[in-house]
Structures are given as structure tokens and as C-alpha cells.
């Protein structure tokens, strides 16, 4: 059980880290777009980095946020039909759902995202104004996939052991 506790504690720290990254990225995003408007109207010509930076930030915020939302089961689903099952069957169903999410994350986000990022790096594609490689925009996708897989197994572990992670961590 100590290993479980350690695992849930680590998860707690990871979620906090991801949450703060998402908060900071969101705040920066607002600032960046406002800065674009400000430079255009008050300084005469728009800081051309703002558009590229904004789309990069939204990619990071969305992907990291998606894994946090999944850790906290914040994604919308249809629980109407499953709600009619008996509790034991509901538990099996829930495990199946987390497996499906983990598979999707592994195949599309981790592998597909890795291909996308590595090819963009290999093609030497650049974000012209920011003067950084475009691959950095996409590199968050495989990372987010890893977190999702991690959280999926953690949810499954929680279902199998009957322990709530929140209680174990706090």
C-alpha cells in the first residue's frame, strides 16, 4: 500500500505542476493578444511575434489542460446508459473507458504526436517571427499523451483497489 500512496502522492504533485503551467500559459495568452492590439494601435505597427506565440500557447494550454481535465474526470461523456447498469458492471465499464482513453492517447497523441513533432523538426520548419523551430509547438502533444496514459492507469488502479487518490494524497 505504501507504493500506492507514493504513486498517488506523485500524481498529486504532477497535477499541481500541470495546473500551474496551464494557469500561467492562459494568463500569458491574454497578455500576448492584448499586446498585439496595443502595439498595433499605440506603437504604430504590430509586434509580429504575437500571432505565432498565441497559437503556440493555445496548443500548450489545450493539451496540458486536457490531461489535467482528464485526471479530474472533467471531460464530458454520456452517463445515461451506463447509469442503468449495476455497480459491478459500472466498475468494469469504467475500467474499459480508461483503457480506451489510454489506447487513444498512446497511439494518436504519443505516437502520432511524436511523428508530427519530429517531422516538423526534421523539415526545419520555423516560426518565422519567433525564430524558433515549429516543432516546439507540437512537442507538447506526445507529452500530454504520456500524462493521459499515466492518469488512465492511475484511475484504473484506483478502481481496482477501491482507494480514492484524493484521500490518499492529502
Amino acid at each position: 500500500m505504501n507504493i500506492l500512496k507514493l504513486l498517488f502522492g506523485l500524481r498529486h504533485i504532477l497535477v499541481k505542476l500541470l495546473e500551474w503551467s496551464a494557469i500561467i500559459i492562459m494568463a500569458t495568452l491574454v497578455f500576448v493578444v492584448l499586446w498585439g492590439v496595443f502595439t498595433r494601435y499605440c506603437l504604430g505597427n504590430q509586434d509580429e511575434r504575437t500571432d505565432e506565440l498565441a497559437t503556440t500557447l493555445i496548443m500548450w494550454a489545450s493539451m496540458l489542460g486536457a490531461s489535467v481535465a482528464y485526471a479530474e474526470k472533467g471531460h464530458l461523456g454520456v452517463d445515461y446508459f451506463v447509469g442503468k447498469l449495476d455497480p459491478a458492471a459500472q466498475r468494469i465499464n469504467e475500467i474499459a473507458v480508461h483503457l480506451i482513453v489510454a489506447l487513444f492517447a498512446a497511439v494518436v497523441l504519443i505516437y502520432g504526436g511524436y511523428l508530427l513533432a519530429s517531422r516538423t523538426f526534421a523539415a526545419e520548419q520555423m516560426l518565422q517571427a519567433l525564430k524558433i523551430k515549429a516543432g516546439y509547438k507540437y512537442i507538447v502533444i506526445p507529452f500530454s499523451g504520456c500524462f493521459m496514459v499515466l492518469f488512465a492507469f492511475e484511475h484504473i488502479l484506483e478502481l481496482l483497489t477501491g482507494k480514492k487518490n484524493g484521500e490518499a494524497a492529502q
Binding site: 492562459m26 489535467v68 451506463v82 480506451i100 482513453v101 497523441l109 508530427l116 507540437y138
Partner: protein
């Protein structure tokens, strides 16, 4: 081609029933379909399409409207709008019903999000209406349905999504086009509410005075000004819709923290976090829907649907009716943003071929899918409303029916009266020249 469509639809349906998160349902079924088509790199393609959907600059307006909506919800704007609306219409019989609809229209418009309207307005109005003897289920039903009208009244998140997929439609035109239909939907809901309140004898007379109307109006002005600022900037060509939505974040931050002082600076990270999570959920839906819509285009589904529809009838009225019925069913099972992303490319070519203006169709689409936000099995607004009002979905459903009828009547009116949508944009365009 038939097999691939079957794979797409059946896998989506199975995953949905299993309670897999909807974004993942869309992603997995698109992935399986690409896999079945073969001779493409399915993992890479789907990842690339998801990324393509998320990294769009126009869609950046989505997170900004979400942040602004959360700031307004916490920042005391809801209460000031309710005060103003109750001074204005609260004195009638069944007055709280009208107050509810009117406030939802204003708040939904300002925040650009129906979910924010249900939680913010419902949080105040549902307990208050319960206290005054209105039926619990009725209160939930009216709040959930009224909140959707804010999606038609600008500024509106989902209109930006439509403008992005439709391509040639300007956000400014779409915003203006939504005004009258949104007000019409609100009026239809008020009529339904008025009839029910009269039949059941809800709500005693409260008094009001011009002084009270004036005073509450003054307090509500800073909140209402947000609509003027955002629309003014976009229509005046000062900035894009995305930039205007960022400005609305700055303005609502100013209202909530400096002017009304209901949000403390230390609350801001919490508000940012909940906005980030909502944003991520929506953006993942956007990404996966972009992938699905790419799969459909590759399978020529839009063309096939289009020729199938046109073979059924070449009558504009009939085709629009069929499309509306299909969309009502889609709306029951899908959230609004993915539905707009996936079904716009399918239906828009059909209706434009029949001479329907893309702006008008956008309004029809949104008015239609608004109803779906309040229907199970997937009905975000209804679920939030039921959560706040503490009634089960089964309890709330019978009370929803009169409001569904009201929204359906307004939908039919919006569908078959193009000038309702197109008149205002044409006036604004004429003024601009």
C-alpha cells in the same frame, strides 16, 4: 465507402453509449475509419488534424470568452443584471419567469457562453424562484432553455466557430444577424413562461418605480457596456473577433477586481485554472472534430449527403425542414461546438446551392443546436441547471416541454423568415459604406 461510414457511425455510437469522453469518441472513431481506409499513416494524420484544429488563431476567441464568462460569473455582474431585469419586468404576474429569461439573454450575450449563463444566473435565480413558490422543475427548465438564447445574441463563441468552418462568412455579419433571432427566441420563451405562470398562479405582484429602474440600470451599465465595446470594436474594424474577446477579458477583469471588487486578486489563479480546464475540454473537442470532419471530407460524405438530400426533394422549404430535423437529433447526442464543426461542411453546400445565405444558415444551425443543449442524453445546459436546482433530469424533462415548443416555434420562424437574420447585417453594412 459505405463500410467506412458504417465504421465511423457505429464506433462513435458504441463509444458514446459506453460513456467514453465525447472528444475521445470522436477521435477514436475517426482514427478507426482512417485505419480502415488504409494507405495513409493514420496515427500521424489524426494527430496532425487535431493539432490543425487547435492552433487556429480565430478560435483563440474561445478561451477568452470562457475566461471573461468566468470572471463575470464570479464578479457580481449576474446579480446586477438580475436587479435591473427585476426592476424592469419583475412587477408582472409570474414576473420572475420574465426576469429569468431577460437576465439570461443579457448575461448569455455578454459572456458568449450558455453554460456560464446557466451557472451564474441559475445560481441566483433558481433558489430565489424556489423561495417564491415557483415549481423547482419549472425553474430549472426556464433557466436552462433561456441561457441558450445568449448564443444567438452577440458576442457569441459558437458563431466564431461557424465563421471559421464556413470560410467566407464574416464574424461581424454573423453577430449582427443573431440579434433579432435571439430576441425572438427570448420572447417565445417569455410567452411560454407567462402562460404557465398564469395557469399555475405563480408570483405575486411586486411594485417597481421609474426611480428603481433608473438606479438598477445605472448599476448594470458597466456590465452591458461590454457588449457595446466588443461589437463596436469588431464592427468598427478596430480589431478582429479574437482581439475583441481578449479585450473583453481585460474589461471584465477591471469590472470584477477594480470596480465591483467582488473578485480578489488571490482568486484569479483559481478562475484561470477553471477557464483553462474548460478551454482544454472544448479545444480537444475542436481538434478531434476537425479530424472527423477531415475524414468525412475524404470519404466524400458531404457530396453524398448533398446529392441524397437533393434527390429527396428540390424544394427549399422541405430540404430546410429535413436538415432541421436531422440537426435536432444530432443536437441531442452532440455538444454544440463539435456539431457545428462536423455538420457545417456537410449541410452548407446543400443549402447554398438552394440559395440560402450562409449567414442565415449559420443562425438556423445555432438556433437549432441550442435546443440540443437542453435535451438528454447530451445536454450541457440542462445538466448544469439540474445540478443547481437539485432536480433529476427525469423530473425536469416534463417541465422542459413547453419551452422546447417555444424554441421550436422560434426556430421555424428563423428558418423561414430570412430577413430576420439578414436585415440587420445589411443595415450595418450600408451604414459602414
Amino acid at each position: 465507402m459505405i463500410e467506412e461510414i458504417v465504421i465511423l457511425v457505429v464506433s462513435f455510437a458504441i463509444l458514446l453509449v459506453l460513456n467514453v469522453p465525447i472528444a475521445i469518441c470522436i477521435g477514436v472513431s475517426s482514427f478507426l475509419t482512417v485505419l480502415a481506409i488504409g494507405n495513409v499513416e493514420s496515427c500521424y494524420i489524426i494527430a496532425q488534424r487535431i493539432a490543425g484544429g487547435v492552433e487556429s488563431f480565430p478560435l483563440l476567441a474561445i478561451p477568452f470568452f470562457i475566461i471573461a464568462g468566468n470572471l463575470m460569473g464570479e464578479g457580481g455582474m449576474a446579480r446586477r443584471l438580475i436587479d435591473f431585469a427585476s426592476a424592469l419586468v419583475g412587477w408582472c404576474k409570474g414576473g420572475l419567469g420574465y426576469v429569468n429569461v431577460l437576465t439570461c439573454m443579457m448575461f448569455g450575450a455578454i459572456s458568449g457562453s450558455a453554460a456560464a449563463a446557466v451557472s451564474s444566473i441559475g445560481g441566483f435565480m433558481i433558489p430565489e424562484m424556489n423561495r417564491q413558490g415557483y415549481d423547482k422543475a419549472f425553474n430549472v427548465a426556464i433557466t436552462s432553455t433561456a441561457a441558450t438564447t445568449g448564443l444567438l445574441i452577440p458576442p457569441s463563441n459558437v458563431m466564431i466557430v461557424y465563421a471559421v468552418v464556413a470560410g467566407s462568412v464574416s464574424v461581424a455579419d454573423l453577430f449582427m444577424a443573431g440579434v433579432l433571432p435571439g430576441i425572438l427566441a427570448g420572447i417565445c420563451l417569455m410567452i411560454a413562461s407567462g402562460i404557465i405562470c398564469r395557469l399555475r398562479g405563480y408570483g405575486g405582484a411586486q411594485s417597481t418605480s421609474m426611480a428603481r429602474i433608473g438606479k438598477t440600470f445605472v448599476q448594470a451599465i458597466p456590465s452591458l457596456l461590454l457588449i457595446v465595446i466588443v461589437l463596436g470594436f469588431i464592427l468598427g474594424g478596430v480589431c478582429s473577433a479574437t482581439e475583441a474577446s481578449a479585450i473583453s477579458v481585460a474589461y471584465s477583469l477591471f469590472l470584477a477586481v477594480v470596480l465591483y471588487r467582488e473578485v480578489k486578486p488571490k482568486d484569479l489563479p483559481k478562475i484561470m485554472l477553471s477557464s483553462a480546464k474548460t478551454t482544454a475540454v472544448v479545444m480537444l473537442l475542436v481538434g478531434c472534430s476537425t479530424a472527423m470532419s477531415w475524414v468525412m471530407a475524404r470519404e466524400n460524405i458531404p457530396q453524398n449527403v448533398s446529392s441524397a438530400l437533393l434527390s429527396l426533394s428540390d424544394n427549399k422549404i422541405v430540404i430546410l425542414l429535413i436538415i432541421n430535423l436531422v440537426l435536432l437529433i444530432v443536437g441531442m447526442f452532440m455538444d454544440m461546438t463539435p456539431a457545428v464543426l462536423i455538420f457545417t461542411p456537410i449541410f452548407l453546400p446543400v443549402v447554398t446551392a438552394m440559395g440560402v445565405d450562409p449567414i442565415h444558415f449559420g443562425i438556423i444551425l445555432i438556433a437549432n443546436l441550442c435546443i440540443g443543449l437542453c435535451t438528454p442524453p447530451v445536454g450541457t445546459c440542462m445538466f448544469i441547471g439540474c445540478g443547481i436546482g437539485k432536480v433529476s433530469i427525469a423530473q425536469a424533462l416534463p417541465s422542459m416541454i413547453p419551452f422546447f415548443v417555444a424554441l421550436f416555434v422560434s426556430l421555424i420562424a428563423i428558418t423561414y423568415t430570412p430577413w430576420l437574420s439578414l436585415w440587420l447585417p445589411s443595415v450595418v453594412r450600408a451604414m459602414g459604406q
